[in-house]
């Protein structure tokens, strides 16, 4: 009876703490919302207040949610919760708060060239959808990402097949082949900017040697060639990633499977399609998922080689958002763009993860 009484008292205290946290969260939300509204409509707001005001309502929401959690959790769960608190706090500060902050400013016309910061709700999102340049950037993003990753998959798997066998110099070549993915993309971009150069670049020079007549292709001056050059540069850097993951997967396959296929008289091609690929499928899907997400975010190579040009022919979504947000100080607009991008990436990742799970 006494123990039950103690537990009841403890639960009551806990509920009390939860109610207090929720109430404080609610209060913080209301005060923050009022402050945000006041600052947004002020012509000369205090700089510090201007920056912190979108944060306060969201801090209120978080506190409110924490309060509800404390009310619901009991005993051991609460202890576990408090043990996880440092990690949670870190994620809160580094991931959740910035994301909520970004979400918050996506509803504001926060533009350094406009003196006020009115709350415009979804207008930034509507402008984004209506913007022809955004549609072009999305198309370029999809084109570069899908074509680059598809080529990387084919080449990566092919190379992995090759390296799955033992041969002289294999370890040395393996080390050489994975160097590109260890380089900073900005360095890769600068290097390839020189390699693709029309007059002095090694690529045109090699093509000239092969064809036997001078080749002066303007790789970054032609809209189609520029997309091809960027895709090839990305393929050069990231094929080793697919190759390495696939090789690890290949080496983990039970050799008995291949022996059984050989006894059944399967050709090498049949073994690859009917045995290797189905077994590798989960590994390939994981590699594909990682690479696709990264390819959608490609920035450095385009930034350093074409800066989106000529015109907007190689401008992708991240470059566009960077220019709008960090070069032209349209913070609200680019925040809305970032949120849409986040949602799209989460949806694609979820879909792929589900497929991987089913596999």
């Amino acid at each position: 009876m006494e123990l039950k009484h103690d537990i009841d008292v403890e639960n009551a205290r806990q509920r009390q703490l939860g109610y207090m946290m929720s109430a404080a969260g609610l209060l913080l939300f209301i005060v923050g919302a009022l402050l945000l509204s006041r600052v947004s409509n002020s012509r000369a707001p205090n700089a510090a207040l201007k920056n912190i005001s979108p944060l306060i309502p969201f801090a209120g929401i978080v506190l409110f949610g924490q309060g509800l959690l404390v009310i619901r959790l009991k005993g051991r769960h609460l202890t576990a919760w408090f043990l996880a608190l440092p990690t949670f706090t870190f994620i809160l500060v580094v991931v959740i708060v910035p994301t909520l902050y970004t979400l918050g400013i996506s509803f504001i016309q926060w533009d350094a060239l406009v003196p006020t910061r009115p709350f415009i709700f979804l207008d930034n999102y509507v402008t984004l959808i209506e913007e022809a340049r955004v549609r072009n950037a999305l198309a370029n993003t999809g084109l570069i990402a899908v074509s680059a990753v598809a080529i990387e998959l084919v080449l990566g798997v092919g190379l992995a097949q090759l390296f799955a066998e033992r041969f002289w110099g294999r370890s040395f070549l393996l080390s050489i082949f994975i160097i590109p993915m260890m380089m900073a993309p900005i360095v890769v971009g600068q290097t390839f900017r020189m390699l693709w150069n029309t007059r002095f670049g090694a690529i045109n020079h090699i093509l000239s040697l092969i064809t036997g007549h001078p080749v002066e292709l303007s790789w970054f001056g032609d809209k189609k060639l520029a997309l091809i050059a960027i895709t090839i540069t990305d393929v050069w850097q990231w094929t080793p990633f697919i190759f390495l993951i696939t090789l690890a997967g290949l080496l983990a396959i039970n050799t008995e499977l291949f022996e059984a296929a050989a006894i059944d008289g399967a050709s090498a091609w049949q073994t690859f399609w009917r045995v290797t690929l189905p077994v590798l499928r989960p590994v390939l899907l994981v590699a594909f998922l990682f690479r696709l997400i990264e390819a959608f975010k490609i920035f450095d190579i385009i930034f350093i080689t074409t800066n989106g040009g000529p015109g907007t022919s190689t401008e992708n979504y991240t470059l566009y958002l960077y220019q709008q947000g960090f070069q032209f100080a349209r913070f609200g607009f680019s925040a809305a763009g970032a949120i849409i991008f986040l949602i799209a990436i989460v949806l694609i990742s979820t879909l792929l993860i589900r497929i991987i799970g089913e596999t």
């Binding site: 000369a44 000529p310 220019q323």
Partner: protein, 523 residues
Amino acid sequence: MSRKKEPYIPDPLREASRKYISGGMSRRDFLKFTGALGIGLSQLPGILNTVKAQEGVMSSADRAVEAAQAFAGETINMTRESGLQAQDPLFFSGPLWQELTGVSVNVIELDAGPPQYSAALQEHIAGSGAFDVIDTAPLWMPDYVRAGALEPLDDFIAEYMNPADLDDFPPVYKDMGRFEGLNFGIFDDGDTLLLYYRKDLFEEHADEFADELGYPLAPPTNWRQFDEIAKFFTERFAPDLFGSAFGRAPGAFWNVEVFLPHFKANGGIIFDPDSMDSLVNSPEGVRTVSEMAHSNQWMPPGITELTVVDLMPEWLAGNFAMMYWWPPVGRWSAGFGQQTEELAFLPESQVAGKTGYALLPGDITQMAIGFNLTVSSDSRNKELAYLFIQWLTSPEISLQRVTLPFALRDPYRISHFNSELYRGLWDDASDYLDTLLEAGEKASMDILLPGGQIYHDAIDRACTAVYAGADPQSAMDQAAAEMDALTDRLGREGQRSANASYLTLAGAYPSTNLVDAPSNLDM
């Protein structure tokens, strides 16, 4: 008693000395005046010192130093484009200022272009007070003013600067630091582009060219002549020598600097002054961008991916007959300062003594970017920041700075162009300075309106799209639509008012006319 022992100075000489000390008379005029009076050079320092002492006359530089000495021990944080631009405050003016005043200068280097543009806005939004002196392109200044990031300088100017210093500018540069009636910056870099051409090649092939084309080989006066000259050289000498080369790479904001003077010479108007609709997609705009794209065929292969920086070493190596660049190329072509450590990256000039200077066809050019020195409204010591600016831009200190071989600050005061010191730096430095002064009188200005950098970006992208084969009308329509969207975002009324101010500036629409001139499109 002691006054009686000092030499007697006649009133006209006293007045001239006072004007010279206070920046109201150039060194050349002062020397002419004293020479006419039969006064030797060796006597001048004594006379000037006497007038200074007796009249209490101080130059703007001296006044700035005297006032700043009260702030000894403090530090000024100053932004500067990274690289050569930063060498002057790091190694010349910064240390000299510290020696004179006890105030140190912390130079914050920022990447050129949009990163430098946005850094000042971001620091202002954050309210960090990280910068005291902001080195800003006039193009960016309206945005900073509208954002409240800059301090008006009028009160400081009235208190500390000799008024004559404000008149020591060519017309285009004079109002670069003003926006909507107030002074927010003091102009500090005559970044006016020149057409550099090979005098030796033009002389060598004069007869052949005249026989073939029917007119003398000289700097082109219209774009058809420009292309004909370029074609003449490219067809004969490529790939060792190309007729012309302009930076055409996307994203480097250079195409717009070529488009603007060309467009204005073709009769183009950027904005309708009443509706503020962009008119870059007008027939003049389409003609301009088409003419620009047409010229590319006589330039080196891959020109549409080369920046101006890529081209400069090739010019010095003697690979082009004509090139359009900022003023430093004139100095580097002559080999001036190439022995300095800072310029060790440049190839040795093969065009020294062979370089001619001219404006673009239409007798126009572009004041491309340039710099104003401004005071941040978030600075904790605005007065000290201003005093530093006044000292840097004073006639005597700025002359020393623009003659530093490695710094990228280019002459901008009338007294710089008339300086005998500068005119004696290399054989034809006088021609260089005379052409630059002419440019300072005839140059077109950037779009000095709020959002100017973004308007520039829209035009620049349209140009590169046309080089890559896009339909000129569609590309310019897209640029105009983007510019209109920005105008709406910033508010048409405010933009109309800013444009009305812009139209009153000397370099907004220089009087030039290529409307009926032959076009290279008819070749």
